[in-house]
């Protein structure tokens, strides 16, 4: 029994953290005068109740895989990139604009090209916090938060000034058909993006497990002075990991534009970048862990909407649960104490 426990220690802690978060959540639901059973059953039904809801859950999982991976990649080098939201906006914006202007290209060139452009836009946005952290030690949490505000403002400015569709809604025109990701199930908005996400998970997993560069980045994250002693340029590794992280966050925006919205719209995100923090923390910064955590939070996001619509319970409960999950996972000693009792 103890042996099994030891082997799956991390998993058991994460699971306990989730259960605890839901328990605290139910106290809040109850105190606010709602039925806990009604709330959680509406949540469950909304996330998994029928095929349509399930595809919605998968659709919400995809950006969370990217933003969660982005945070996890930063963590590998010891950096906490909470700028995923801004990097995602830049990625979405660049992808939409590139797709609109390069509409003469055939799909098999256009799709990978605008994906990469979206990723690079994210990279550009994460470069500065990485560079400043390496050069001056400026805390990346503060700088990435500021870059979020700047990123959302700048995309909205550029949109309104140069690229707005001729309508009252602040959005671009639709991107060409050739740049859209094909749907897996008709009318579901669940597209090939899911395979791109899984492909990126595999690549990142291999990168950190099998390549020298990935190993170097992790060494910096674990012990910067030891890494320096071993001849690794830790500054370079930090900037690099921030840029990879930003690239992946940019892909979140790119795939939303290519698969779901088919255009750039201001304020399109329900906070995927921030939920990515909870995803990475719960997934213990492991690529496959991120997949499961993203699915959980994708389900919460989808179910939360149903809960609000039909049970009239504010969906901000999901934000509460995210915060609790992060706090509980960050404090394994608390869980250890609880489990021992």
């Amino acid at each position: 029994m103890i042996k099994i426990f030891k082997k799956h220690e991390n998993f058991i802690y994460s699971l306990t953290a989730i259960v605890l978060a839901f328990l605290v959540g139910s106290v809040l639901i109850h105190l606010s005068g709602f039925s806990v059973i009604k709330a959680y059953s509406a949540l469950f039904d909304g996330a998994f109740g029928n095929v349509f809801n399930l595809t919605q859950t998968f659709m919400n999982t995809i950006p969370l895989i990217f933003t969660g991976l982005a945070v996890a990649i930063g963590f590998k080098s010891g950096l906490f990139n909470i700028g995923g939201e801004g990097q995602m906006y830049l990625g979405a914006f660049a992808t939409a604009i590139a797709a609109i202007y390069l509409n003469f290209l055939p799909g098999y060139i256009l799709i990978p090209l605008v994906l990469i452009i979206g990723g690079l836009a994210g990279s550009i946005w994460s470069f500065l916090p990485g560079y400043l952290k390496a050069k001056t030690g400026a805390h990346e949490v503060v700088t990435t938060i500021m870059m979020n505000y700047i990123g959302i403002l700048i995309t909205s400015y550029l949109l309104l000034k140069y690229f707005k569709e001729n309508s009252p809604i602040p959005q671009t025109v639709l991107i060409p058909e050739s740049a859209r990701l094909p749907e897996l199930i008709e009318y579901s908005r669940l597209t090939w993006a899911i395979f791109i996400a899984i492909f990126v998970i595999i690549i990142i997993d291999i990168f950190f497990k099998r390549t020298k560069l990935g190993y170097k980045i992790q060494t910096v994250g674990e012990n910067r002075s030891a890494a320096e002693y071993a001849g690794i340029n830790s500054n370079k590794m930090m900037v690099l990991s921030m840029m990879i992280s930003g690239f992946v966050a940019g892909l979140a925006g790119a795939t939303i534009v290519m698969g779901v919205l088919h255009r750039f719209i201001t304020n399109f995100s329900p906070g995927y970048g921030f939920t990515g923090i909870a995803v990475a923390v719960l997934g213990k910064n492991k690529p496959w862990g991120v997949l499961f955590a993203a699915f959980l939070f994708g389900a919460l996001q989808t179910g939360g909407i149903t809960m609000q619509l039909f049970a009239k319970i504010p969906m901000d409960l999901m934000v509460v649960i995210q915060g609790l999950v992060i706090l509980f996972v960050a404090a394994p000693i608390l869980i250890k104490k609880l489990l021992r009792k």
């Binding site: 001056t136 400026a138 700088t143 403002l153 909205s156 909870a278 901000d316 608390l334």
Partner: protein, 312 residues
Amino acid sequence: MHEILDVIFNINTFSAAIRISVPLVFAAIGGVFSERAGIINLGLEGMLLAGAFAGVLGSYLTGNPYIGVLFAIICGAFIGFIFALFTIKFEANHVVAGVGLNILLLGITTWLMQILWGSRGTSVNVTGLNEITIPVLSSIPVLGKLFGSHNILVYLMFIVVIISWIILFKTPFGLRLRVIGEHQEAADTLGIKIRKIQYTSLIFSGILCGLGGAYLSLGHLNWFSMNMSAGRGYMALAANIFGGWNPLGAFGASYLFAYTDALQMRMQALNLNVPNEIIQMIPYILTILVLAGAMIRSRPPAGLGKHYKTNR
């Protein structure tokens, strides 16, 4: 050009900056106290937000804004204690726990707002803090305009800046606090009650953020709105660093941020040829520049972010 210079050196801009600086100053000094005790406090943001909410709640329930301020103080103290529990007792990573706390408090305040007032945007209007005019001071030309008429939290802020500085640098408690931030093991060996001091300073940090939050909602707008702290907690942390982990420095840095913010708002009203989105970015860009600039020349407390187990 003449118009811009007019705004830059206008007494009203300086006076507006005092008002805007209040939440930043409180939170930045909250940051000074926790970071001097070795705890990285990104939770400032959530604490401000919760303080703003508690202030409005108190005023809503009793009709008295001063009870609202009391609510904010109690709420801040409680959250400071919870944050201390997680970072000290449960040895959570300070940065992760701080961000988790912020997300949690954003969720809880938005949730409660909908339960209480049925809206996700803003709360109902409540009674805010009234302005207090100081008789003689208010009639002096420049000083009167700057300091003559404010609500109680503004005056309290000036007192807090000075008292915090005295506590930190002129009292045995402050000395012990600073030793803990530099080297917990050494402090422990000296017989300093590390835990007690750390808990105290985090609770104090929470109280200060509560006051800053109460100013945001009760001193400024008289209502609460979703995520109304809008990154000020993070800016305050940067101001704390730029100010060299010193209450006086934190005040100066916060005032600088506030001044740019005041300038930004006035420039928007000027109808210059610069788009508003670009003007709105100025405080955020400045925060990044200032933080990067400050880090080159200053040194954080050596034990910041580290966990240490006492044997007692």
